[in-house]
Symmetry: C2
Subunit: 358 residues, 2 copies
Amino acid sequence: MKRPTMKDVAQAAGVSLMTVSRVVSHNPGVSPDTVAKVEQAVRKLGYQRNVNARNLRQKRLGTATIGLVVDDLANPFYALMARSIEDEAHRRGCVVLVGSTNDEPRREREVIAAFTARQVDGLVLVPTIGSHGFLRTAMASGTHVVCVDRPAEDLDVDTVTVDNRDGARHAVAHLLGHGHSRIAYLGDRYEIWTQRERYAGYLDALSARGLSADPALVRHGLRSHLETRLALAELRALPDPPTALFSSNDLITLGALDAMDGPDDPDGSRTAGQPLPMAIVGFDDLPLAKQLDPPLTVVSQDPVAVGSTAANLLFSRIAGDRSAPRKVVLLTRLVERRSGERPGHRTDHRPGPPTAPR
Amino acid sequence: MKRPTMKDVAQAAGVSLMTVSRVVSHNPGVSPDTVAKVEQAVRKLGYQRNVNARNLRQKRLGTATIGLVVDDLANPFYALMARSIEDEAHRRGCVVLVGSTNDEPRREREVIAAFTARQVDGLVLVPTIGSHGFLRTAMASGTHVVCVDRPAEDLDVDTVTVDNRDGARHAVAHLLGHGHSRIAYLGDRYEIWTQRERYAGYLDALSARGLSADPALVRHGLRSHLETRLALAELRALPDPPTALFSSNDLITLGALDAMDGPDDPDGSRTAGQPLPMAIVGFDDLPLAKQLDPPLTVVSQDPVAVGSTAANLLFSRIAGDRSAPRKVVLLTRLVERRSGERPGHRTDHRPGPPTAPR
DNA sequence: ATGAAAGCGCTAACAG
DNA sequence: CTGTTAGCGCTTTCAT
């Protein structure tokens, strides 16, 4: 009923507890016969060492446990990242605790506290908005932290991000290059670092052409499908509506594409063959992007590379690297399919009088 | 530098270690002044209880840690499931260790061993193929196990699955109902339980119409995008090619849609407005399914429901439920969009006269 | 090559 | 109300 302990194994093998410890730890200096006897007892009892008890005494090697704290494990980007971090950990005989913050600082603190209370060797963290000073004490007592996806505003630690600004700039430049000048920006909460960066990239691209953003075309804070639909509806009702759209994350892209299909039809929808009413480029690639009509042009980032880079950084810290914090910035790639190439000079897509050309 | 212990707090507060323990555990019977003194010392030192040490002594409450072992954390289905399990765990003040097996029995054993060695209270497991007898000893010593997505072949434990067979049957019946009789089956490894079930559903639907499967139209063991493309190419080269397709998971659906686009074009592809050459219904919903042309009809399962059901089952076991193992089977839903409705009696899909409207 | 003693950080079971 | 003594399962250190 209860799990066997070293004591039980020792008794079964007729040796001392210490000898069992040596065998189980593959320590040298035990006679082959004894090893055999002990190993047999181990198998017979189904003994497995209690790693937590071990870690209590032997802290030289750490707990071989790391924590991964993301916004939302269900988000494909973080899921891919998590998998690649888990792979790196597994290679090193390390396990990983995961937690989602839901972008709530409070939940973030709870999750991190639960992890550090279990003596994790380190943390890969997608920080929420707000201060992370509370991590200082944990870090002082040896918990290593690597930030991913975005930096923690007040923490100078290893950080792996992608060049969001550059990615957005390219996306919007692409749209501009295809004749669009009224390009809407659809973004998530402006408080999120990646969103600020992407918006900055949007502005960069405009000003490189001598344009400035029309406030009427800029929408921050889109948190849901519904809000995105609404925002898009308002944009289209404008006297001078946008001809193109830059959506700053996958969820918003999804919402926008859905909204473009027209009225609220739960399952099936857009009339076959009818072109999308606006050009669109989105941040983040999506599985069926190239099967759309027209195929969707996106800024793609590599979550697997982000994850493995972060994991490697973390493990080298755990292994003793005490050099200055590194800031790694990975590149994005503009995957040009065709949704960004619709002509920018026509917006006729509704029955009824076409909007004035240009 | 080192983490403070209760001893340090006791010293700082001028009380005994035991008093600190009581305060930290919110035990009654400590005078308010003492509580205040201790709490202040705790804050001052940034003390946090070592949960592992605590669990070593007090095993009444378990470790408040569960393990989640899935095929692949990056798979959207498992990612969603993982998130919902993590939510349930978080509600209960429990943390979760995750691991991917990659469908390799060996890695599964490694991951499970690493988890049980850390004294997890229970395991939510997507079992690989093969025996799981090795879990018996862990279970005998109190580790609870709940299987999800598929049953473990030789383990009588709580299991949460969806009705794969029924889902597949409906999908294929839908295709049959639209005039198709030559329907190809594209599946992953037949050794995987879900795949066998879905194939059985495919056969069910055919025989309900008095048809039997044409072996030439059945392809098992599709493990990659490439293999799927190849398989589809072969099917189309048949003298009497299929007019419709049932793909038995999301990856295969993706591969098939990709292959239908024609030659190997890395990024963008299909000519706008050109209809898909075959009808298709896939198992598992996909984010952009309804934005496709035609919108993709799928069998959808609810990973969040699967996850939360499994988590609830596990936690009630941990809480002491010793009733007979439960087998929960959730339903799937056929989301009828339009890809299953192309006429089954024509296969002309190349440049030439446009397909009849609707 | 093996074992005995001490102690990791904490709580259970008793004292006072 | 508070403190003392064991001891969880293991490893360290020091014998033998």
